[in-house]
Symmetry: C2
Subunit: 188 residues, 2 copies
């Protein structure tokens, strides 16, 4: 009952995500979001009654569950730490389109909306990511403290390489970082 959607939920969120990742929350106008999805503004409000904020929230939630499924779960899976890290690297390359797309965690954390609905989720995602990463490094034989520290540095380098890549207009820094990551994490 009811007519079919022109664009299914997953594709819809994905298109919205691209916009937020490109121009951030304030830059993502409803006009841009409508254009990117092929739906008119009013239709977007049918799908997301709470408007732009809900869109960003669901996009961020989707990113969180994507991270959980494609990165953290494999990181926690059985197998040698090295191969688990290799798996993560491969997924990261896909997730950030080889460095062409920015990270939502950076683009949605502008101070204008600090204390808002994104702050908490951004913290949670960062925390989960570092937790899973440091668990792997713990498995690899590092002590708690250096495992945690190296996990944090990895996430920071990932973010930094994306910022730098965007700033320089080339994906090279991101790609080189990903390439160096397995060896980087392997050394004690």
């Amino acid at each position: 009952m009811g007519r079919k959607t022109l664009i299914d939920e997953e594709e819809l969120i994905s298109r919205l995500s691209n916009v937020f990742r490109e121009v951030g929350y304030e830059g993502a106008t409803l006009a841009l979001l409508a254009e990117a999805t092929g739906l008119k503004k009013a239709s977007l409000y049918h799908r997301f009654p709470q408007g732009k904020e809900q869109m960003a929230r669901e996009v961020l939630e989707k990113a969180g569950s994507w991270l959980e499924e494609h990165i953290l779960a494999p990181l926690r899976a059985a197998g040698a730490p090295a191969s688990r890290i290799d798996a993560m690297v491969k997924q990261l390359d896909a997730f950030y389109s080889g460095g062409r797309q920015a990270c939502l965690l950076n683009m949605l954390s502008s101070a204008r909306i600090h204390g808002g609905p994104f702050t908490e989720m951004i913290e949670r995602v960062f925390e989960a990511w570092i937790g899973a990463l440091s668990a792997v490094l713990l498995d690899a034989g590092l002590d708690r403290k250096t495992a945690r520290s190296r996990a944090e540095r990895t996430v920071m380098m990932l973010q930094g390489s994306l910022v730098f890549s965007r700033g320089m207009g080339t994906t090279r820094p991101f790609r080189e970082f990903l390439k160096s990551l397995p060896a980087e994490l392997r050394k004690i």
Copy 2:
């Protein structure tokens, strides 16, 4: 001839800079910029006839010359590489208010304005920064390639630590990164 300004050029640029660093280009409304400077909108247009874009451009230019004067010049000065790096670290801590303030190079590089007036300058600043840093590392005995690579990694980690600090709502990651930086760069 003419009366004195209520707020001098330097303070004015600094106040504008704070806004852009907090909320980015799209988030920085004229109302916010006026509030932050104590000037009314029309007065801002007297100081910056080309409007918001000129404000952001001059803020970015100022940041570039500040970097040149307080970071790159000391980096190129005489003295042991280690002490030059120590000097940079001290200045970075001040420039980013101990991790409380974001980097313009990140906040002004949203895709909405890509190809715009900031893109080129952002690239130039990144380039200059890495150039000066890798020159120091060259002085310290590293070969060209690893000096350049380590310089890039340093800038990326700086950016990443700022992103991570903002996302987590604490300055700890930034401060720890700065603290570890001298030792990090010292090792061959």
